[in-house]
Amino acid sequence: MRSLFFLLEKESRQLLRNKQLIRVLIIAPIIQLILMPLAANYSVKNISIAVVDHDRSTLSQRFISKITASGYFKLTAYVNTYSEALAVLEKDRADLAIQIPANFEKNLVRENVQKIYIAINAIEGTKANLGGAYLGSIITDFNSEIRAAWPLGGVVEPIPQITIASSNWYNPLMNYNLYIVPAILVTLVTAMGMMQSAFSIVREKESGTIEQINVTPIKKHIFILGKLLPFMVLALVIFTLGLCIAWLLYHVTPVGSLLVLYASLIIYLFAVLGLGLLISTYSATQQQAMSLSFFFINIFNMMSGVFNSVDSMPQWAKNIVETFPPSHFIKIMRMVVLKGSGFSDISYHLVVIVLIGLVFNTWAVLNYRKTV
């Protein structure tokens, strides 16, 4: 135990002496937490549309202004023929082209039926999908408006309808930040913890100091613990800073208890730092360690349900994601921050993280041999 204390003293002294590293480790997550939620916003705005109005009637004008008034669309081109509209689409100046046929108003009044043609630029999938869907709902809306305005054919037949009233629990306003900021904070803490713990032992390998350490009577689990704890502390600091930013900038404050949050974080860090260690035992240089950690960080960020739902993946992919500690911790974070879940609610995820952590750490300790 005494030697652990001396190791910790040495590690923190070296870490604190590396001013540039500390600066990057503290400032980089802050900047990322300020920038990334802006980019990860799903509500699509500013979809540009091109309109071909062959009718040029009051009704078609009303229709167009209804679309632009929704706030999702902006009119970038008003052209005369469909081929011109397609050209605008091809030049990427519009995401959608709407063609209103001639006699739009007349036929609608007379025959009670009218068709509108929409062409969607599907290069940007999300934008196209959502744009199409928004437009669909605007048209439905427009439909019922004219039905109400002009009781066509004298008698208005009541249309049987089932309306769905939904309320969004735990996030009533569907505030996107509430959902994304905790998850981004998890990815930041994960990346920092994993990379730094991966580099710490490799750095000693590269500088040759591990040779000198290996001939000392120091126990390997003490040595490894001495490497892990400083980064555990650093990760806690970064997490705390992140929570402050979430509160000040995004007004996201955990509904649940901070005790639950921090206790889970410490358990989670045990698993993440363990993976970092495992990487370091398989790498001879910092470059190798960097490449390996990058591989894991990319997969974790993309697959752990930060941006999209894990549930929509195929079963085999879900099984893989089940072994990722971040996917469990992101769930814990969201449950505690949004719902105020307690230990009993998150116990499954905690147990999984502990098991994964045990596997990583045992594997790392076994693989780190003092005889090289």
Binding site: S3, K10, G208, E211, T216, P217, K370
Partner: protein, 300 residues
């Protein structure tokens, strides 16, 4: 104190042989030198004795402990200074020494007497980062760190490589003083001229020990007469001497050629050289150096 029997080690699944059936022993309080060029297997031997590497075959003990089974005891009683500077460059001189003292469960004060002579030389720089020290000072700090837990055996892998001549001499004087305190020292070096500083030396080449003896004995046992031949045109001289049929071996050594002869053809050498029209040629019998012994052994 240290004994090796039949130690062999290969790398790359047997493709590269680093050590071939090495056996020797080092007595208590001896200053023992492993002399040989790069690639002779000196570092591999150190790594096996300091329990960093397992031998493929053979047994070795250090201070009576087996290097495989009793590695824990060995790590407590040996000091090792690797060939590459392996202290923390981002810790100061004092912090390094303090750190290595504490992980061995001791303090600088407890064993200060042992390192005092050496540490006093670097003490003015005790607040300097180890990475900012000069080569010689790095070696002194390395030695201090390897000594601070008062080891019974000290392993020094090429401690004088890359160190200036003055520091090298100082370093060997320090080793001589440590020897007097009863510490067994095994030191390796590629510099043959340092061999005379050791009680006994093992000449190594390509994983094989060519000879083990006291350096003086090794020189005494040199089987032939050794001549130094000099002339101003030394390149031409080398060609001519090598073409002489009675020459057994001939190597350039600084500005002279060191030559041995078969049977008694040394008698006619000067006459031969005069026929080659050398005007300033000289030839004299000299005492062989360790390097001559080494070259002689390589030839066999």
């Amino acid at each position: 104190m240290i004994s090796l029997s039949n130690i062999s080690k290969t790398y790359n699944k047997g493709q590269i042989t680093a050590l071939k059936h090495i056996s020797f022993s080092v007595d208590h309080g001896e200053l023992f030198g492993l002399i040989g060029p790069d690639g002779a297997g000196k570092t591999t031997l150190f790594r096996i004795l300091t329990t960093l590497l397992f031998a493929d075959e053979g047994d070795a003990t250090v201070n009576g402990f087996d290097v495989v089974h009793d590695y824990k005891q060995i790590r407590n009683c040996v000091g090792y200074m690797p060939g590459k500077f392996s202290l923390y460059q981002d810790l100061t001189v004092e912090e390094n020494l303090n750190f290595f003292a504490t992980i061995f469960g001791t303090t600088i004060r407890e064993n200060y007497a042992l390192v005092k002579d050496i540490y006093q030389q670097i003490e003015p720089f005790k607040n300097r980062m180890a990475g900012k020290l000069s080569g010689g000072m790095k070696q002194k700090l390395g030695l201090c760190c390897a000594l601070i837990h008062k080891p019974d055996v000290l392993f020094l892998d090429e401690p004088t490589t890359g160190v200036d001549v003055v520091s090298r001499r100082e370093f060997w004087e320090m080793l001589a003083r440590l020897k007097k305190q009863g510490i067994t020292i095994v030191v390796s070096t590629p510099y043959m001229d340092e061999a005379n500083r050791c009680d006994r030396i093992a000449l190594m080449q390509k994983g094989v020990v060519l000879s083990i003896d006291d350096p003086a004995n090794m020189i005494k046992d040199f089987p032939q007469k050794l001549y130094a031949i000099k002339a101003s045109n030394s390149f031409q001289l080398l060609q001519d001497v090598r073409n002489y049929s009675g020459v057994d071996s001939c190597f350039a050594f600084g500005d002279a050629l060191h030559v041995t002869f078969r049977d008694s053809s040394d008698q006619n050498m000067m006459a031969y050289l005069y026929t080659k029209a050398y005007t300033d040629v000289s030839m004299e019998i000299i005492t062989p150096s360790i390097e001559d012994c080494f070259i002689h052994l390589l030839k066999d």
